[in-house]
C-alpha cells in the first residue's frame, strides 16, 4: 500500500468522527427509518408517530430524566455483563439479580434501621445490602460452574426465575415485605421506603428527577474500564477467558477468578435493583423490573467489552424505550411494532459489528 494512496484518506478522516462512531449511528438511523416504514404500514400517520416519539424521549426535563434513569439501570447491568464476559462467562441473570437486589434494598430500607443513619448512610446502607445480595446470587452461578461444571448461561437463567418468584412471594406475604393489610391499599406491594433511604436528587428539582445514581454509575463505568484495561485482576480475567487451561498452568487461580467475575456481575445487577427502587419506584411490587435485566444483557452484548459502548448503548435504549412507550400511548402505534423496531436495532447493530470485523480482517 503506497503512502500516496493513503494520504487523502487520512486528511478526510481528520474531519470525520472515527468509523466506530459513524457506522453505529448510521445503522441506528437507517433502522429507525425502516421502523417508520413499518409504522406507516399499520396506518398510523407517520408524523404523529414521530411527534409522539420525540415528545416521549426529549419533550420535557421530566422525560429526559426518566430516560437517563432507565439508561443508568441498563448501564449497571451491562457493566456487570462485560466484566463476566471478559472471563468468557455469559451472565444472563441480570433480571434475577435486579430482583434480589431490589428485595435486599427494600428490606434494609424499611426494616434495617437505615432511616436514622447519618451522613448519607441511610441510602448507602440499603445499596450496600443490594450489592452484597446480588453478588451472592451471581457467585452462586460461579460456584456451580467451578464445582460441577454447570454452564453459567443455564444456571443464571434458572436463578433468574427463582429470583423473580422470590420477589413475588416476598410482596405477597405479610410476614415478608408486603405492606400491612390494615390499610385500605391491599395491592401486593411493599410500603414506600422512607425519604432518607431514597437517592438524593441531583438538582433538587422533582420535575427533572435525576438522582445520585447517575454520577455513581459514571464513576463505576470508569472503574470498570480501569480494572479491565490496567489491573492484574483484569488481566487475569482475560487470561482465564481466553485460555482457561493455560491460565491454570500459569498458576492463575481460575476457580477464584470465575466466582469473582460472576459475583461482580451479580453485584452490578443488585446495584441496578437498588437504584431502581431507591431512585425511582420507592416501593417493591410484582413486575418490579419488567425486563431491565434482559435489556441490559443485550446492551452488554452489543458493547463488545467496552464500558463506553455500554454507556452509549444504554442511552440509546433508554431514550428509545421512553419514546416508544409514548408512541404507543399517544399515537396508538401497536406495542408489537415498537418491540419489532427495537429488535431490528439489536439485529442490525449485531450485523454491523460482524461486518466491521470482517472488513478489519480483510484489510
Amino acid at each position: 500500500m503506497s503512502l500516496a494512496r493513503t494520504m487523502p484518506q487520512t486528511a478526510l478522516r481528520r474531519w470525520l468522527p472515527p468509523a466506530s462512531v459513524i457506522v453505529p449511528v448510521a445503522t441506528v438511523l437507517l433502522t429507525l427509518l425502516l421502523g417508520l416504514v413499518l409504522i406507516a404500514l399499520t396506518n398510523v400517520p407517520v408524523p404523529d408517530a414521530i411527534d409522539a416519539f420525540i415528545d416521549g424521549a426529549f419533550g420535557s426535563g421530566y422525560v429526559v430524566a426518566a430516560s437517563i434513569n432507565r439508561a443508568v439501570a441498563y448501564t449497571l447491568v451491562g457493566l456487570g455483563f462485560i466484566v463476566a464476559a471478559r472471563a468468557n462467562l455469559t451472565n444472563v441473570g441480570g433480571e434475577g439479580q435486579i430482583a434480589i437486589g431490589g428485595m435486599a434494598a427494600t428490606a434494609v430500607a424499611l426494616y434495617g434501621g437505615a432511616e436514622h443513619l447519618p451522613l448519607g448512610l441511610a441510602f448507602l446502607w440499603p445499596m450496600a445490602a443490594a450489592i452484597a445480595a446480588g453478588a451472592a446470587w451471581g457467585a452462586l452461578a460461579g460456584i456451580l460452574k467451578v464445582k460441577s461444571g454447570t454452564n453459567e448461561v443455564i444456571s443464571t437463567l434458572l436463578l433468574t426465575f427463582i429470583g423473580i418468584w422470590l420477589l413475588y412471594w416476598s410482596v405477597q406475604s405479610v410476614s415478608l415485605l408486603r405492606r400491612p393489610m390494615t390499610t385500605s391499599a391491599t395491592l401486593p406491594e411493599s410500603l414506600e421506603i422512607p425519604d432518607p433511604a431514597r437517592l438524593p436528587l441531583l438538582t433538587g428539582d422533582p420535575s427533572a428527577p435525576l438522582n445520585i445514581g447517575l454520577p455513581i454509575t459514571i464513576i463505576l463505568a470508569f472503574a470498570v474500564w480501569l480494572v479491565l484495561a490496567k489491573t492484574v485482576f483484569g488481566w487475569q480475567l482475560r487470561a482465564v477467558g481466553l485460555n482457561e487451561r493455560a491460565a491454570r498452568r500459569a498458576g492463575i487461580a481460575h476457580a477464584g477468578i470465575t466466582v469473582a467475575a460472576m459475583a461482580i456481575a451479580g453485584a452490578f445487577g443488585g446495584l441496578a435493583g437498588a437504584v431502581m427502587l431507591q431512585g425511582d419506584q420507592y416501593l417493591l411490587k410484582v413486575g418490579f423490573s419488567s425486563g431491565y435485566g434482559f435489556d441490559g444483557l443485550v446492551i452488554g452484548l452489543l458493547a463488545r467489552g467496552s464500558p463506553l459502548g455500554v454507556v452509549a448503548g444504554a442511552l440509546l435504549f433508554g431514550f428509545l424505550r421512553s419514546g416508544g412507550i409514548n408512541m404507543e400511548m399517544v399515537a396508538q402505534v401497536p406495542s408489537a411494532i415498537v418491540m419489532v423496531i427495537q429488535g431490528l436495532i439489536v439485529v442490525s447493530l449485531a450485523a454491523m459489528s460482524f461486518w466491521l470485523d470482517r472488513a478489519k480482517v480483510m484489510r
Binding site: K230, T231, L242, N243, A246, R249, A250, G251
Partner: protein
C-alpha cells in the same frame, strides 16, 4: 479400484503456475510453480513456515490464491471450497486426523458420503478390496478409538482412496508414526502412485524423500527454491536449498531431526559419566485412569538425576500426555507419588509446582503453554505477572523492558514485546515458552514434551541448546519425544513408554535404535 485411468503423461494431473498468496503483511507463497504427474510421488520439502501447508490448503480449496493459475488435468481449476477439490478428484490427509473415535472404521468411511440408508456392507466390501490392493490391513468393524496411530492413518488414507482420487495430498503424514510403520506407509504411497494416482507428499524428512520421491520441490520462505527429478543424487544441494547452509555445519541433533543418517557417533564427554547424581525427579508407581476407567499410566516408575537428560521414547498416545499433565499439576493421578529434589509434589497445584522449581514445556503449546491472543511480553511472564503489579495496576513499562531482556537472552524474534503471541513463528513461540520455564527460580527439573514438534531447523537447534544449558546448570530434564533420532542425539539415556508402562531402558546410542524401535512397538527387549 486401481489401476485408475492413466492420464496422458505429458499432461500433469495438477499444475500450479505463479501461485502467490498473501496473509496481511506476510507473503506466504511467492510465485510458486509445481507440477504433479500421474503415477508420480512429488515431495514438497521445506522447513516449517516455508508455505507447505498453505500450498496444500490452496489446492484443497480452503482459500483462493491471490495470483497464479491452477490446472487440473489440463483444465482450469479454481476451487472455492473443499467440495470442489473432492469433486475434482483431489483427496487430502491432514496433519491432524479427522476421524470420530467412537465410530467404527466403516462408519468413518461413510461420513459425509451417504444420504438416506447407510450401505455398511457395500463399504466394508470396498474396504476389503482396497486393503488387499494396497496392503492396508484394517478391520471394518473395529472402533477407531481402539486403533493404533498407524492404523488410524491407514483409515485416513482408505477414506481418501474410496473416492478414487486422481491426486492424493498428504500433509506431513509420517510425523506421528513409529519407525517401522513409516516404512509400511511409504510402501503404500508407492503402490498408490503405481495405480496411476499423483501423490503430493509434504515432509521435512530427507530420508523419506530419498526413498520414495520421483520429484522434489523445496520451498523456503514461500518461494520454490529448488526442484529436482533425481532427489537421491541431489540430496546435498536440496538440504542447502532448504536451510540455506551446508550440511556439515549441522550438529547431530539437527541432522537427526531432519531424518538424516548422521547420528551421534561419539557421545559428548559430559554424558554418561557414570556416577549417580541425586535425583531431580522421582516418580513412584504413578497410575492414572481416565474418565471411563481405562488405565492410561500403569504403575509408572522412573527417576531423573540432576544434570541429566532422560529421553522418554514412545509412539504418541501411550501415556505421554497424561504424564505431562500430572507433572504440570493439571491432572490428579489415581495412584502413586512424585518427588522433586526429595520433596513430595503429588497433588500440588500448578502454582506450587512452579514454586518447587519445576519448569514445564507442555506438548500442546497452543492449549497449555501460551495464550495466543495475549502479547509476547505477557506470555513470557504468564506465571508471574503479579511481580509487575504496582497498587494492583500492571506496570507496562517494566513489563516491556524485562520482556525485551528475555527476548534478547533467549533469541526470541518478534516485532517487539507488545507483538501478539500468535504473530510469532512456532520456533519463536517455543523459545518464549522455554524462556519463561527456564527462568523459574531454583529450577530443579524441566519437563520438555515434544519441544521441537513443528519447529524449523534453526529453532530446533536453539531449543536443544537451551535445554542442554539447563542440564549443564544442574537441572534434570525429562525429554518426551516421538522422534527417536532426536532422543538418541540429545538424551543421556532413553526409557521407552508403551501403554502407560516403562518397557525398558537403553543407552542413547545409535546402535540401540532397532532395540528401542522394537520396544516402542510393544516387543520387550
Amino acid at each position: 479400484m486401481p489401476p485408475a485411468p492413466v492420464e496422458a503423461p505429458e499432461v500433469p494431473i495438477l499444475s500450479l503456475a505463479g501461485i502467490t498468496k498473501r496473509f496481511g503483511a506476510v507473503l506466504a507463497l511467492d510465485d510458486v510453480s509445481i507440477e504433479v504427474g500421474a503415477g508420480e510421488i512429488h515431495c514438497l520439502l521445506g522447513e516449517n513456515g516455508a508455505g507447505k501447508s498453505t500450498l496444500c490448503n490452496l489446492i484443497f480449496g480452503l482459500f483462493p490464491p491471490d495470483a497464479g493459475e491452477m490446472r487440473l488435468a489440463g483444465l482450469p481449476y479454481r476451487p472455492v471450497r473443499p467440495g470442489d477439490a473432492l469433486a475434482g478428484g483431489i483427496a487430502m490427509v491432514h496433519q491432524h486426523f479427522s476421524l470420530i473415535p467412537e465410530f467404527t472404521v466403516v462408519d468413518n468411511l461413510l461420513l459425509g458420503r451417504e444420504r438416506g440408508i447407510l450401505r455398511r456392507a457395500a463399504y466394508s466390501e470396498k474396504l476389503r478390496q482396497l486393503a488387499a490392493a494396497y496392503g492396508l490391513p484394517l478391520d471394518p468393524s473395529a472402533r477407531v478409538g481402539d486403533l493404533s496411530v498407524g492404523e488410524r492413518q491407514r483409515v485416513e488414507i482408505v477414506k481418501c482412496l474410496v473416492r478414487d482420487p486422481r491426486l492424493l495430498v498428504l500433509d506431513e503424514p509420517t510425523a506421528v508414526l513409529p519407525p517401522d510403520e513409516v516404512d509400511a506407509f511409504l510402501a503404500v504411497c508407492r503402490r498408490v502412485a503405481e495405480g496411476g494416482c499423483g501423490v503430493l507428499l509434504v515432509t521435512h524428512k530427507l530420508a523419506e524423500v530419498k526413498r520414495v520421491a520421483d520429484c522434489v520441490t523445496v520451498l523456503r520462505g514461500g518461494r520454490s527454491v529448488a526442484t529436482s527429478r533425481r532427489p537421491a543424487a541431489d540430496i546435498d544441494s536440496l538440504v542447502r536449498a532448504m536451510i540455506q547452509r551446508d550440511l556439515d555445519t549441522l550438529d547431530t541433533a539437527m541432522a537427526s531431526s531432519l531424518g538424516m543418517e548422521k547420528t551421534a557417533a561419539v557421545p559428548a564427554a559430559s554424558r554418561r559419566d557414570g556416577a549417580r547424581r541425586s535425583d531431580a525427579l522421582q516418580i513412584d508407581g504413578l497410575t492414572v485412569r481416565d474418565a471411563v476407567g481405562s488405565l492410561r499410566l500403569d504403575q509408572l516408575t522412573l527417576t531423573v538425576g540432576k544434570g541429566e537428560i532422560v529421553g522418554l521414547a514412545g509412539v504418541e498416545g501411550n501415556g505421554q500426555s497424561e504424564l505431562g499433565a500430572v507433572l504440570a499439576g493439571l491432572l490428579q493421578p489415581t495412584g502413586g507419588r512424585l518427588f522433586v529434589d526429595g520433596k513430595e509434589m503429588t497433588g500440588r497445584s500448578p502454582r506450587e509446582i512452579t514454586a518447587l522449581g519445576i519448569g514445564i514445556v507442555p506438548e500442546d503449546r497452543h492449549a497449555v503453554g501460551c495464550i495466543a491472543e495475549l502479547s509476547l511480553a505477557e506470555n513470557i511472564f504468564l506465571n508471574r505477572i503479579g511481580q509487575f503489579a504496582r497498587f494492583g495496576l500492571i506496570d507496562r513499562d517494566t513489563l516491556r523492558r524485562q520482556a525485551q531482556e528475555m527476548m534478547h537472552r533467549f533469541d526470541v524474534r518478534a516485532a517487539g514485546p507488545e507483538a501478539a503471541f500468535s504473530s510469532l513463528s512456532g520456533g519463536n513461540q517455543q523459545k518464549a515458552v522455554l524462556a519463561r520455564e527456564l527462568t523459574i527460580d531454583n529450577l530443579v527439573f524441566l519437563l520438555a514434551a515434544q519441544p521441537t514438534r513443528g519447529l524449523d531447523v534453526g529453532a530446533v537447534e536453539a531449543v536443544y541448546k537451551q535445554i542442554d544449558a539447563a542440564r549443564a546448570r544442574g537441572a534434570g530434564v525429562l525429554l518426551i519425544s516421538s522422534e527417536l533420532d532426536e532422543l538418541i542425539a540429545v538424551a543421556d539415556r532413553i526409557l521407552v513408554l508403551y501403554r502407560g508402562r516403562i518397557m525398558g531402558e537403553r543407552s542413547a546410542h545409535p546402535h540401540e535404535r532397532e532395540a528401542i524401535g522394537a520396544m516402542m512397538s510393544g516387543h520387550p527387549a
